[in-house]
């Protein structure tokens, strides 16, 4: 029993705690990845959304045992990519970041969409972001930023 091993932002790690621990707590407390926010711990806000094997998941609703052998990506890893830069610029151009608390999850939800649908419609964007609650913006700026990023980042996704 050498703990459960998985990839975190490109690095292989072995976690020696309980398999029942929440991925959210482990990411924040053990690996100091504070971009992953805790908004409700019930899967109802998306502030803790991460990508697991490229698929959007709420880290509060994932036990460590389920992560074994899989690849977890948080904004700390994603921010090093070209795709992130395109998204970040698109968000900046529309001042789509207000309080910021939903944003890391929102950005990963956008990435999860664009990797399967590089040229989404507005409706598809809204649907893709529908599990990520933002109380500040009314969503327009965020949705438009994702649409703009899809245009600007043509070929990246």
């Amino acid at each position: 029993m050498n703990g459960l091993c998985f990839w975190l932002n490109g690095k292989e790690l072995c976690y020696d705690g309980s398999a029942g621990d929440r991925l959210l707590d482990v990411l924040r407390d053990k690996y100091d990845l504070k971009s992953v926010k805790c908004g409700c711990k019930e899967g109802e806000c998306g502030a803790c959304a991460v990508l697991i094997d490229g698929v959007l998941m709420n880290a509060c609703c994932v036990a460590m045992g389920a992560v074994e052998g899989h690849e977890v990506l948080t904004v700390e890893g994603y921010r090093e990519t070209e795709r992130f830069k395109v998204l970040s610029k698109a968000f900046a151009d529309l001042s789509a970041v207000q309080c910021g608390f939903c944003i890391p999850g929102m950005v990963l939800a956008a990435e999860a969409l664009l990797r399967v649908k590089p040229h989404p419609t507005e409706e598809e964007v809204r649907r893709a972001l529908s599990g990520n609650i933002c109380r500040c913006t009314g969503y327009n700026a965020i949705v438009n930023a994702v649409l703009n990023a899809a245009k600007e980042g043509d070929g990246l996704w």
Partner: protein, 714 residues
């Protein structure tokens, strides 16, 4: 568009989107060299009870219990009055009231201990009824004209009642505060908050240190909307007392359920309105406004003041009598939320005007338009609308966006079939800045600019960026006046050890009031600028000369120097089989003066608009017969998602305010106020209008639609 309105990249953009911003829960456990202790509160289980005893499980070493006996100073939190205790007194007054706090190094252990705490209560019958409550924290009366005569001479008198529910701010980052005892004996308190100097005053008093014994920093704050105006003072005192007792840093972060259940919300209201109509014109208004204050007075005085001042809406009504009461109930204390009392009364007057118009057989848009106040008219408090009232032009703008007038008439005709449509309209103002003379007499804001030898400039003010962008707009103003690149002007999160008191981050005042101080300071700095030396410039608030002094005892004078205005329209389709109300489009024209950054202002308008639609429709929160809030999770308290209002269009209309920076007025609260009555008018219209279904309350959900339709005799 003015140069200043051109949007720029927000200064906090990179840190926030890259996940590098440090919110209070993000400080690593040993950030300051000492282990941060986790604090959790013991919340009262009954709405009213005498606390007979608190029995703790055996506490392991390093774990401590804290309650009112540990408060070194005053166990009363300084807010407006001082009736809110830091930790409960002999009785608890609402479910959730903090009795004590358990602190210790391991969160899991604190949780376990918490589950083992036994509190013995002697229950007392709670008071839960806003309608029949007799104990009023505040009871205001004002008016003008001869109301009795107007009613006596009226052709027709209308009376109606309007109800609004709770609304939770639902900032994405829950409440959280942290206190750290410092080497020099001071207590350093920081966290998610809007008003550093409010917390400063409260903590200094609770610790009994005097103002120099504490300092307060605003951490990066994940949304506020008013919810972090008063509450951080209470939580700040609690963690400070715990840190004082243990000598270690203590952090308390609410979980979402605690936050939804036990922190301040928008006051539920009950408004009884009476209108006199003669020759087709409203001649008098009598408004009886009751707000459910909850168990302690906190901010209810000022919330109620703003609410009742707005009682006649934007209409010129010659005779007005208003009474307002903040009723004490054994429920969670209500506090500040974007709009601050005004959404409740605007809802009442707008619906009332709709109903009177329908009874008179007039289109409500036309009827309202006949009563719009104009520049120079008297306000409800016998002040003046000193500046042009742009509402008629804004109405035309919204009409152009969504064919409001045409649809308003078309949808008013009888409809049959499963899906029926309606469109609603509202016109409202938001008084810019503090109510009354608060800015002049109480706040007396001071803001500073410090220029360093290297030619960079720092803004020193106490207004927190809670998402609304003051970390960007303040430097933008200063860099504009100094003709400096934006990178050379910075505004850090305020720490009361470093910044003067420029007042709280409330009342849509930061940009208008403090922004103007900074603009003037920048102009002075420009005039005295010397390269290579450090220079400082300070500016103090001065009330504009045109303002008619306000007397709170009589509610007389200019309650606000100027007003922001909005016109909203909401188009819906109601599914009469399921009750579902689909918002087909939401349209608004907003006048907040000159936008000091167009994107930032539009973001405020769109965000506030959606909150207003949530308030009107799906955001339902209620307590049960024991006084317990049932909707205490995100599964049960629903706020809009990205799919709920896909078509939401906000437009800016600029009526410049000469005493705001570049013509800017208050912005943040305005957009929430208008949508609720527009939404409900639309739903009522879809259901066949007032004569078939008279609607008078929000939130109004799919269930409400169905139950209302069930009343229809087939």
């Amino acid at each position: 568009m003015k140069e200043i309105s051109r949007s720029i990249k927000k200064k906090d953009h990179d840190n926030k989107i890259e996940g590098r911003s440090v919110y209070v829960d993000d400080y690593p456990l040993t950030a300051s060299g000492k282990r941060i202790l986790c604090g959790k509160l013991i919340h009262a289980a009954y709405a009213k009870a005498r606390v007979l005893s608190v029995t703790l499980p055996p506490l392991p070493e390093g774990y401590t219990y804290v309650d009112r006996n540990d408060v070194p100073g005053d166990n009363n939190v300084n807010i407006v009055l001082d009736d809110t205790p830091v930790f409960c007194r002999e009785t608890v007054e609402y479910i959730g009231e903090p009795i004590g706090m358990l602190v210790g190094p391991e969160e899991a252990v604190v949780d376990e201990l918490l589950a083992g705490v036994k509190v013995e209560y002697d229950q007392i019958e709670p008071m839960l009824d806003l309608r029949n409550g007799t104990e009023a924290f505040f009871d205001y009366h004002f008016g003008h004209g001869d109301v009795d005569r107007a009613f006596a001479e009226a052709d027709k008198v209308y009376e109606e009642e309007f109800l609004t529910g709770y609304q939770d701010q639902t900032y994405l980052e829950p409440q959280g505060m942290m206190a750290e005892p410092e080497e020099d004996g001071r207590m350093f308190v920081h966290g998610s908050l809007q008003c550093p100097y409010y917390v400063h005053g409260a903590v200094a008093r609770a610790l009994g240190t005097g103002p120099e014994g504490v300092h307060i920093l605003q951490d990066v704050t994940g949304g506020g909307f008013g919810g972090k105006e008063d509450f951080p003072s209470i939580l700040g005192c609690q963690v400070a007392v715990a840190a004082h007792k243990t000598g270690q840093p203590v952090r308390c972060v609410y979980n979402r359920r605690e936050d939804l259940e036990f922190t301040p919300k928008r006051h539920p209201s009950l408004c009884r309105y009476k209108l006199a109509v003669k020759d087709g014109r409203v001649t008098a208004l009598e408004a009886d406004v009751r707000f459910d204050a909850g168990a302690y007075s906190t901010l209810s005085a000022v919330v109620l003041q703003r609410g009742i001042i707005a009682a006649p809406g934007i209409y010129h009504i010659p005779n007005v009598r208003v009474t307002g009461k903040a009723i004490k109930t054994n429920t969670v204390p209500c506090g500040a939320y974007r709009g601050f009392g005004a959404p409740q009364t605007f809802f009442a007057i707008e619906m009332m005007m709709n109903h009177v118009a329908q009874d008179l057989g007039v289109d409500s848009i036309t009827f309202k338009q006949q009563h719009f106040a104009k520049q120079g008219d008297m306000t409800s408090t016998q002040g003046r609308y000193h500046f042009p009232v742009p509402i008629p032009a804004m109405l035309d703008e919204v009409d152009a966006l969504c064919a409001l007038r045409r649809k308003h008439q078309a949808y008013s005709l009888p409809q049959t079939g499963r899906f029926r449509r309606g469109i609603g309209f509202s016109a409202i103002f938001h008084g810019a800045g503090f109510t009354g003379s608060g800015e002049r007499d109480i706040i007396k804001a001071t803001a500073k600019l410090r220029k360093y030898a290297d030619g960079t400039v720092e803004v020193l003010a106490s207004n927190g960026d809670i998402g609304q962008g003051v970390r960007t707009t303040f430097p933008k103003i200063v860099s504009h006046e100094l003709n400096l690149p934006l990178e050379k002007v910075r505004y850090e999160h305020p720490d009361t050890a470093r910044v003067p008191d420029s007042g709280p981050t409330v009342a849509s005042r930061s940009l208008m009031t403090v922004g103007e101080l900074l603009r003037r300071a920048a102009i002075r700095l420009r005039d005295i600028w010397q390269d290579g030396v450090e220079q400082e410039v300070e500016e103090h608030y001065k009330e504009p000369d045109f303002v008619i002094p306000f007397y709170l005892d009589r509610f007389e004078g200019d309650a606000y120097p100027t007003y922001a205005w909005s016109v909203s329209a909401v188009e819906v389709e109601v599914d009469t089989y399921t009750g579902r109300v689909q918002i087909l489009g939401a349209y608004g024209s907003f006048d907040v003066g000159t936008p000091v950054d167009e994107n930032i202002v539009l973001g405020q308008m769109e965000g506030g608009f959606l909150q207003g639609l949530g308030y009107a429709s799906i955001e339902k929160m209620q307590y049960d017969e024991k006084g317990r809030i049932r909707n205490n999770s995100f599964t049960d308290y629903l706020v809009p998602t990205a799919m709920d209002v896909p078509k939401l269009i906000a437009r800016l209309h600029v009526e410049e305010y000469p005493d705001g920076p570049y013509g800017a007025k208050g912005a943040g609260e305005l957009p929430l106020v208008g949508p609720p009555p527009a939404y409900l008018e639309a739903v009522e219209m879809a259901l066949g209008g007032m004569k078939r279904h008279r609607l008078n309350r929000i939130p109004y959900s799919a269930e409400d639609v169905i139950l209302e339709l069930n009343k229809e005799v087939p």
